[in-house]
Structures are given as C-alpha cells and as structure tokens.
C-alpha cells in the first residue's frame, strides 16, 4: 500500500520561539487507521493544523495524497475531511442546513448534497432532529452532526481531533462502530487523536506517540505493548511521599523486576516485571517486613496506558483532570 501522508523533518516554531513540533517524520498508509497520541500541548493539534493546511510549517516537507503541502494546498483540501476538537456547528442553522452549507463549501452539486445529507442524517441518527436548530441539540448530537459535516464529500482522508471527547459511552460506541465501518468498507484513511487509550487500542491499526514535539514511539498497538515486555503491577502506598524512595530501592532489588517508576495520580509506583503475577506475594511480603504500609496492589498485562506512561512519564488524562478546574476558575485565582 502507498503512503497517503508522508511527513519528513517537520518543524513548527511559534513566533514566541516555542518549538511546538520538533523535527518529526512519519508516514500514514492509504487505508490506515492511524492514532496520534500525546499529552496536552505535546504538538498533536499543531501537527493536525499543518496537515490540514491551516497553519504554515516552519520547515520540513509534507506530502498528502501525492500533493505537496506548499504547492498544492488547494488540492489537498478537496480530499480531506476534518473534525476539529471544538464542535463547530452553526447553532443558528438547522442540522440539515449545516450539512447543506458544508456540501456547498465542498463544491458539490445541490442535488448530490441533498441525497448525501439524507444518508448522513440517518447514519448519525439525527433524522428526527434534522430540521431543528443545532443550538438546541445535546452535546452528543452536535458532535455527531459535526462528524457528518466532515464526511459530506466522502473524503479519502479523514482527520478526527478527539472525536468522542465528552460523549456518553453509548454515543461513543455508535461512533466507534461507524468509524470502523468507514475505514473497512469505504477504505477511508483515518487520522485520529484521542485522550482515550482504550479508543486508540480498539480502533487504531498504527499509533505514534508524540511528547514535547517529538515522536517518542510508534508501531501497532500490539507491538508497542510487546515492547514494554513486562506486566505491570501498580502499588499504592499509604504514605507515598515518605516511603517511595525506600520502596523503590526494595522493589528494584527483587529478581524479575525490570523497572520501577513513579506514577502520577492515584497510584504511587508502577513495577514492571516478567511474569508479574508470581511476584505479587513477594512484593507484599518485602514491603510489609520493612514497615511500608500498602493500600492496594493491582496487576495488569501491558496496556496502552503503560506504553504511554513509559514513553512520556505521564498519564494521558491525569493532566486533563488537573487542568480542567483551573481553566474553569482561571480568571478568579
């Protein structure tokens, strides 16, 4: 299969000197379901903005579907569909009007658009609300309408920036099933960013993890998990701050343990080990005999969560959770 996106040595430096994207290279094959993961501010959205012709790159080369980004941005716009992170439907227009307008932006014929709109409304289950103003839609309905607007022209390449953020589990499953069908049956290449690792695990055929503007890992979800090479045991301590140094030393000295890292958020330490299951009893005993009190021990086979923490030192959503309240009350502090 041929590449639909080829990115080489891409750099984006903002006018204030921030290096948002630091010399990244990757490629996405036609028909791929590609996941682009990273903590907030890692460079995901910046990369998407460059690939979708919204932001001028500082240097590097980008080829999309055989078209050079610098020379043929207008050709690229014809084949891409984009759903941005913010839901961008016009609340003053009805769902149908939003879709019609988007079809016109894509230069389709009116009769063609009408047929496609009927099809899409059914698909995203908005038929009964088609002629109501989008202002009155629920969050999930708006998100579905937004997705439909990105699909109006049957794009060859679809960019989805956190398409299910804020959706209820049921709507999320509906969208997942649809995206998989779109990828499998219509051959649409999908480039997805998400904060939900289970979403990436379930949907994506290939992944890249970006952190501080650099790609730190890439491969299929299975490959990435295999690279971890070990099970993970999450250990919570009653007094994490006091005991973590001592506990880390103890755990590192145990046979079979390959790595011990501090884990943000609720757990204290994560222990990586081959055949971790057999080590649990030893861990409990070792810590107990050193008077370190445990509150819980959780065992798991490697997950994308572990992959993510290994490569970025952070949990993908912990930041989000910490950040959300400060954004809400930002002006008052």
């Amino acid at each position: 299969m041929s590449d639909i996106i080829t990115v080489k040595d891409l750099v984006e430096v903002y006018s204030d000197g921030t290096k948002a994207v630091d010399n990244i290279s990757f490629n996405v094959q036609e028909g791929d379901f590609f996941g682009f993961l990273g903590p907030n501010g890692a460079g995901k959205s910046t990369t998407i903005k460059i690939l979708t012709t919204l932001l001028r790159k500082t240097s590097g080369s980008v080829i999309v579907a055989g078209h050079d980004l610098d020379a043929e941005a207008s050709e690229i716009r014809k084949i891409i569909g984009v759903q941005s992170q913010d839901t961008t439907v016009d609340g003053d227009l009805t769902g149908r009007e939003n879709l019609m307008l988007q079809g016109h932006f894509q230069q389709l014929e009116t009769s063609q658009i009408k047929a496609r709109v009927a099809e899409l409304m059914k698909l995203v289950e908005l038929e009964s609300a088609a002629d109501k103003r989008a202002r009155n839609y629920s969050g999930g309905m708006k998100k579905r309408l937004d997705l439909a607007t990105a699909l109006i022209h049957k794009p060859r390449l679809l960019f989805l920036d956190e398409p299910t953020t804020g959706l209820d589990p049921q709507s999320r499953t509906v969208i997942w099933n649809y995206l998989q069908k779109l990828n499998k049956e219509e051959g649409t290449t999908i480039f997805l960013t998400t904060q939900y690792l289970e979403e990436a695990d379930r949907l994506c055929k290939r992944l890249a993890i970006i952190d501080f503007g650099k790609i730190v890992a890439s491969g299929t979800p299975a490959e990435l998990k295999r690279q971890i090479g070990a099970d993970s045991i999450k250990v919570s301590l009653e007094n994490c701050i006091k005991d973590k140094v001592h506990a880390t030393e103890l755990l590192k000295s145990m046979t079979g343990v390959t790595e011990v890292i501090e884990t943000p958020a609720e757990e204290c330490l994560t222990v990586y080990a081959k055949d971790g299951g057999t080590l649990i009893a030893d861990i409990v005993r070792a810590l107990d005999s050193s008077d370190i009190r445990l509150t819980s021990v959780t065992f798991s086979s490697p997950s994308l969560d572990d992959v993510f923490i290994r490569h970025t030192g952070r949990r993908i959503r912990a930041e989000e959770l910490v950040k959300a309240p400060s954004r809400m009350f930002g002006g008052r502090r």
């Binding site: 979708t52 001028r56 716009r77 961008t88 016009d90 227009l93 016109h104 932006f105 103003r133």
Partner: protein
C-alpha cells in the same frame, strides 16, 4: 463560478443567522428609532425659527438622514463581532479546510452587511414616512439613499472587521465602535444644520466623512438631485472604504495564512 456561488451561500448563512436572532436586529434598530420618534420631538419647534432649517422642511425630515447614518454605524459594528464569533467557535477554520473560495468568505460577510443596512434603512424610512416625512426625489432617490448608506455601511464594516480580526475580541470592537460613533455624528451636520453649528465644529466637520454621507442622503431627502453634493460624497465614502477594506483584507490574509 465558485466565487459567486460561494459568496451567495455565505451571504445566505449570515442572513439566516440575522433573522433567527431578532434580538440583534432589535438592538441595532432601537437607538435610531428612539432618535426618530423621541429626539426629533424635542426639536420640532426648530422650524418655528426661520433660517435654521431649509424652508418647508420639518425637523423630523431634516434629522432622518442623520439617524439613517447612526443606524448604519450600529449595524456595521456588529459585523466585526460576527467574524470574532466565527474565529472563536472555529467555524472560520472549518471553512478554511474546505476548497471554499477565500475572497467569498469576506464578500459573503460584506454583502450581508450591505443588505442589512438597506433593510434597516427601509424600516426607518418607512417609519419616518408614517410620521410625516417624505423623500423629495421619490423612488429613485430612495434607491440613491440605499446606495449611499449601504456604501457607507461597507466602509464602516471594514473598520469593525479589521478590528475584530486584529483583536479577536467582540468587546473591543464594541467599545471602540461605540466611542467613535457619537463624536463622529455630533461633529457633523447629522442632527443640526451646518450653519447652526459653532465655527470650530463646522471646520472639523469638513474632515469628517460622516458629514459627506449625511449631506448626500439629505440631498436625496430634501433638496433633490444635488449632484454637486452627492458625487463628492460618494468619492469620500469610496476613499474611506478603500482604506478600511484594505485593512480588512490585510488582517484577513493574516488570519487565513
């Protein structure tokens, strides 16, 4: 042609938004109507003093042209807000990732601004007529007034659009626009005859584009086809439009690229 059809679709979008948010229309019409109905009442006696107003002209008839200008200011101000809203919501970006014609984004907005000024002008003129004012030049003159005000509205939309794209803040657009509106109206013959004004105001008003737009509209209303007033006025408005729309285009290019 793409440019033409895209402009039309974007124009229709803005018109739909306008009629579906009647409160916006109400607010921008409220002030001019208040002036037309109440403020003119305060000064009806002005026509009792000979030599202030042109002979046979009521104050209402005289002030209508000025109030029409005030109205054009108000609706043009909201233009900048709409572009800020589209930038904030991401709708502008959503347009920009499609092959939609770039100039159409601006032309769709400007044509809807111009059309809106014409509609509001028609409402105010209708009300003025109901209150006893008439347009001396008749239907053709009314078209002349529409043209003058739509043209002026475009020039003024240029300021609010450029400000909106530069500052990305609806509040700033409103604040700056609001601060500019009344001084420009007061330092012109919008509400009082030019000979009635103090000399310094008269001198300043020579450099105020609003004076020219008011005089042209007023010519259609009460003097007839006074081309010696109308044509230079269109020239002045054209010059202002050239400057403000160039600024808009410059800011738009920065936003788009």
């Amino acid at each position: 042609m793409t440019l033409f059809s895209d402009t039309r679709f974007i124009f229709v979008r803005y018109m739909r938004k306008l009629v579906r948010t009647p409160i916006l229309l109400f607010f921008s019409l409220f002030q001019p109507i208040l002036f037309l109905v109440l403020f003119t009442q305060l000064l009806t006696r002005l026509s009792n003093f000979p030599g202030i107003l042109p002979p046979g002209v009521s104050y209402l008839e005289f002030a209508t042209a000025g109030i029409l200008l005030q109205n054009a200011f108000g609706s043009a101000l909201q233009s900048g807000n709409s572009i800020v809203a589209d930038i904030d919501s991401g709708f502008l970006q959503k347009m920009l990732v499609t092959p939609v014609s770039r100039p159409a984004i601006l032309l769709g907005r400007l044509s809807s601004d111009a059309f809106r000024v014409v509609i509001q002008t028609a409402i105010i003129l209708g009300l003025a007529y109901a209150l006893g004012a008439s347009v001396k030049t008749g239907i053709v003159g009314i078209i002349g007034i529409f043209f003058t005000l739509a043209f002026f509205g475009l020039a003024w939309s240029g300021i609010s659009l450029a400000l909106g794209m530069k500052t990305r803040s609806a509040e700033t657009v409103f604040a700056i626009g609001g601060v500019l509106t009344f001084p420009l109206l007061f330092l012109s013959p919008a509400l009082f005859p030019i000979d009635f004004l103090p000399t310094w105001v008269k001198d300043v008003s020579m450099f105020n584009p609003v004076s020219y737009a008011v005089n042209a509209s007023r010519a259609f209303m009460i003097n007839g086809y006074d081309w010696a007033t109308i044509l230079p006025a269109w020239g002045v408005i054209g010059l202002v439009a050239l400057i403000t729309l160039s600024a808009t285009l410059y800011q738009f290019r920065k936003v788009v690229s």
